[in-house]
Symmetry: C2
């Protein structure tokens, strides 16, 4: 298993800079992975995503299973051929989305995006040992997703990197439920790997998913179970706690189990993308991240800026930007900043709900995170991660490293 | 008055190829002018519009007056500075939008685009000799637009080419109303020109607007009145009839009056952009056109293709394209076609309401019309317009001329 090469280590917790080799090319890590949930990074063309500095995108098994369906996408050579992206693609397993329907997160997201298209909210019908029965939000039909079904779908979607099907343990459950759920996730891991060994596409890597909620022993046990399996990499999922301090602690439970013989397995942190979380995640030895945050915020008028006191965010819809001649961020190379567009114009576009505004801020936010990840990587390679991290945390914005 | 240079003439009705010189550069004609209604071509960046082959865009005085307001835009050096477009800009006068509120067209458009933003429909309150009183769809406030107010707004918007404020005579009114309305439009023309002579920005050209409904004598009289005024160019507006044959006849009433001493005044046809209408318009001696059609159709999943029997349109949302591996249009240089994206993918994006779909089809449709206009221009320059027009009407698609 030589998919992942570690080029350098730095920092107290062994942050790593590396190269993840996939069937469609290399991904330099640490890296943020933008979402191409429904086979497109919303509003952007593949060439634009690449020009922003990204080497891999993440497609969503759950959504693509329901529409347009894996059979169609397979006919086009997978998500990449379908959407015209010729770089690496990771697909999540659908577990997170299926289970989120039970407690609302995804249902809400779906409702808001489908409101105009006659969509109906999906619903989880039954969680069984064999898999999950749910109602499609696309056509209301009853559907079933199992570990094998998820892997077969991801095989058809042709991703370079598949995630195993897990139960995404919710936040508000007790230790007992978490334990039973995590054990099922481990049984599903073996079923996924079994299916993949027999039927998986050549060259497709498989990541196991660590669960265990916020309980140290469960997290550690889950991590070592996943790491010891035949998976190519390890993804950290599920509830990471109620606040950032706990999240870092929980991620640390996992990464500490991943040293030694498991060190060469690449590590992905699922659904995390805030600036300070990315910095800490990298420090803790995470290699890749995905998150809806930068693209979703962009569509809703919020831009990422070097302002730690405001969570690195500025809401351009606010009245204070209405007349601002200030550009968004000096030194940023996204089209909005490079062209010197004013905050007043971006604010106006966002408030007017103009597509161009969504697009400009999406590109800006992705450019911002690409710069961050490039800097962190350079910091590790230079043995200077501590300073890079400190500067970003203090509100720096660097792109010359 | 040397803003417009005629390079060549061709065809029975003196089609013209020319160059319109503006304060922000030249526009080669005949040309289609994409809408940047609210200071953006929806979903596209200025550089992308230029790359598609466009030299001028059209901003909307009515919408920009209400939001974000001319004072703000003026502070950024006009629409161009505000949106980052450094080429020529034409602004309409707001007359069409204000008067459309009386009979629904614009109100409907506003309602659909503002539904999610808490918008309220505007309403016309009174049409007086001095101007028009209406209720803003943005904030519900009562507003007033007069010929002088429209020109002052367009001065603040910093357009290269302003249109005078006219009453856009509706379709379903009698000859008597049409005549009285047209006479008022002529009085407003003089007021606009008077205001502009005294206060207008240097280098801003002014087009008068021909009204007169479908009545030959009123159209001809309106045309000669406008042409004889101090305006720099002539725009043809108002109701052009119930069907294409009548539209061509009515446009012909106007263009036949524009020969001889008025020949050097450039001619714009307002709100017309279907493929066959553009061809006929060029044949009749029209120099520039604007229309929401290509961009609006694109946002709604319809692409322009060389298919005269279906009005040069294909609705990609239809089930028949769901699995189509066919590309949109061979030889087209838009990103969707150049990258060989399938109709299946474009259909999927359009049905899913994805921003990327709106954007790809907007670019395709603009690329299609840019190719048409380039071909028609080349045809005139080569003395071969008849053949170019015949080929396009027969479903040809050329880009090598």
């Amino acid at each position: 298993m030589t998919a992942f090469t570690i080029e350098a280590r730095d920092g107290a917790c062994d942050a790593r800079a590396g190269v993840l080799a996939t069937a469609h090319g290399d991904v330099r890590t640490p890296a943020f992975v933008p979402l191409a949930t429904k086979a497109t990074v919303k509003g952007l063309l593949p060439a634009e995503v690449a020009a922003l500095g990204y080497e891999m995108v993440l497609g969503n098994t759950f959504h693509l299973l329901l529409n347009p369906g894996p059979e169609l996408i397979e006919r086009f050579g997978g998500i990449g051929g379908f959407m015209g992206w010729d770089g690496p693609i990771v697909t999540d397993s659908g577990g997170f989305q299926v289970f989120s329907m039970g407690h609302g997160t995804v249902a809400e997201e779906i409702k808001s995006s489908q409101a105009g298209a006659g969509g109906r909210a999906g619903a989880i019908l039954a969680i069984e040992e064999d898999g999950v029965r749910f109602r499609s939000y696309v056509d209301g039909r009853e559907r079933f997703l199992s570990p094998e079904g998820s892997m077969a779908t991801q095989a058809a979607l042709g991703s370079d990197l598949a995630l195993v099907f897990d139960e995404c343990t919710p936040f508000n459950v007790d230790r007992d439920y978490t334990q039973r759920s995590t054990e099922r996730t481990h049984r599903w891991l073996e079923r996924c790997l079994g299916w993949h060994a027999e039927h998986g596409p050549e060259g497709q890597l498989v990541y196991g998913i660590v669960q265990g909620g916020v309980y140290e022993d469960l997290r550690r046990e889950s991590t070592s179970t996943v790491a010891a399996s035949a998976c190519d990499g390890v993804a950290i999922g599920g509830s990471l706690g109620a606040e950032k301090a706990q999240m870092y602690e929980v991620v640390g439970y996992a990464t500490r189990e991943l040293g030694g013989e498991y060190e060469r397995k690449p590590r992905h942190l699922l659904g995390i993308g805030e600036v300070d979380d990315l910095i800490r995640g990298v420090e803790l030895g995470i290699d890749t991240f995905d998150c809806a945050m930068p693209t979703r915020l962009g569509r809703h008028g919020t831009a990422l800026v070097p302002d730690p006191e405001n969570r690195w965010r500025v809401d351009l819809k606010k009245a204070r930007w209405r007349e601002s001649e200030e550009s968004l961020l000096e030194g940023c190379e996204c089209p909005a900043c490079a062209d010197g567009l004013s905050r007043a114009y971006l604010s106006y576009l966002a408030r007017a709900g103009e597509l161009t505004g969504a697009r400009l801020l999406t590109m800006h936010n992705l450019a911002f995170l690409a710069t961050l990840m490039k800097d962190l990587r350079a910091g590790i390679l230079d043995g200077d991660l501590e300073n890079v991290a400190r500067e970003w945390r203090a509100g720096g914005f660097r792109s010359e490293r």
